[in-house]
Symmetry: C2
């Protein structure tokens, strides 16, 4: 059951993330030198959820490590929606801020959708604004949610051209499943979206050249569902308790068994997870370039 990340068919998310962050760092250096442009990311954290604290801290340090400006805004858990909206509006108008990320979840008294849709779509580096969802759904040029965008990057890095491949997305969340399906369709895959109501899920998954699992059910996708030679992206991160009473992280895919059939597979942990912040930085560079009207540097 070891996740041997040196095996040929394991997609090493940490290595991928490191490469991506390094690429972003070089882009930032070029933008500074050639255009005097320093991309800036503002992260807003409401309250003190421990997991969110960790994410925000990582985002902050990664942003700085890439040579960008990081602006952290910490608000009390009982801040009013109006105060939060006022801050978002200030950030929308701040020319030093090219990306705005409001860390979710927000306290229950605040309408998350209203806050997200208050962010300028151009600065919505999480890609959750309804206009960005619409642009993605219609092939327009918007900001794309980090996790599915990163999954596509990994797939293209591994497979090259995805055109004509049979892709199955298990899960239909707004954050991963649905945008993932749109992105695979944009790459000209034949895309199937499966979910809890799908009949014969094993058969549906068995047809796939590409499987993206994003349901949040530990090891739902069994190893023998994976077609020989398929590529498997596991977005799930589930904490389970073992028979010995210890906890450990598993994905939505039965990793060891699936790895026997898959030509390539992401482990959990160490697969999709580490890569997401890299994509966030990439999105911030993209947003900064578009706002400044400069071409994104090719590095």
């Amino acid at each position: 059951m070891s996740t041997n990340t040196t095996a040929d068919n394991i997609i090493d998310g940490k290595a991928f993330a490191a490469k991506l962050k390094e690429k972003v760092g070089r882009q930032v250096a070029i933008l500074k030198e050639q255009h005097g442009l320093i991309p800036g990311l503002a992260v807003v954290l409401v309250g003190a959820d421990p997991a969110s604290e960790v994410y925000v801290r990582n985002k902050n340090s990664s942003t700085k490590a890439a040579g960008m400006n990081s602006y952290e805004h910490r608000l009390d858990a009982c801040v009013s929606e109006a105060e939060l909206l006022t801050l978002v509006e200030q950030l929308n108008h701040d020319p030093a801020v090219h990306g705005i990320l409001v860390q979710l979840p927000l306290p229950k008294h605040i309408n998350e959708a209203a806050v997200i849709d208050a962010i300028s779509p151009d600065k919505d580096v999480d890609g959750f604004h309804v206009i960005n969802s619409g642009l993605l759904a219609t092939g327009g040029k918007g900001m794309v949610p980090c996790t599915p965008l990163g999954c596509i990057m990994m797939l293209k890095d591994r497979l090259g051209n995805l055109s004509g491949l049979d892709a199955v997305v298990v899960g239909r969340s707004n954050i991963v499943g649905k945008p993932m399906a749109q992105l695979l369709l944009n790459e000209s895959c034949t895309v199937t979206i499966a979910h809890s109501r799908t009949k014969n899920l094993p058969d549906v998954v068995r047809r796939a050249d590409i499987v993206v699992a994003a349901v949040g059910v530990p090891e739902l996708v069994k190893g023998d569902w994976i077609k020989k030679g398929a590529t498997v992206i596991d977005v799930g991160i589930n904490r389970i308790t073992t028979d010995e009473g210890k906890t450990r992280l598993v994905g939505d895919v039965e990793f060891a068994a699936a790895a026997k059939n898959a030509a390539a597979i992401t482990p959990v942990p160490g697969g999709v997870g580490p890569m997401t912040i890299g994509v966030l930085l990439q999105n911030t560079v993209t947003a900064a370039c578009r706002q400044a009207g400069v071409t994104e540097p090719e590095v």
Copy 2:
């Protein structure tokens, strides 16, 4: 090769449209009586494309027949984009107008996307505004494009609950294929989107309980691709020239052969086509009710 619309398995689009228009008429009567609300639809036609002229005339007469107000705006083919946008802005602010439809295509010197996105999303009865695409993509409550919405109405009318059914959409246009896939997903179908790059299209279609063909290729989908008992919705309208030199309309599905396998199938002509204006009227009622803050009458 006759399209015998009395056969049990033929979905009669004209009859469906008549029922829908009658339903809308009753809703309008209730809205007038109980709320003094008369839904109004403004249709903007630029230039004098003969096909568009016919559509606009039909929309106008159907709107009036349903007891609603119809406002026709005819602009010269060389009208500037700015003038058109000014008209849209006026209509956005006109409280008597609940739905705005700008007849496409527009002349080449006008940016269609800019005009569509200038329409207030609440009044966008064609459902093409990027915000409405985003709402559809994320399960929100927006305006839904008429043709796919009508297809879903026909499917639910015939099959009842669609949950768990395998649906294949052939075609990935922004106007039909993509919103169709979203709507089928919202009904909890397992949805596959196939297109020109799909490998083994026959096998993909053979798996489907529901086939929606929307590619604009005459009789692309062959009769023997249709699973016994499947429901087939043919959105294609293609004019072909027969061996005798006559022209006739055919769909994207080889109708007669498919009808032998299908439990239900829409003919072309007489299937999806006639129903679209009915859905437009329904969307106008929906838009009017939302704008007036009244519940849509159940009839």
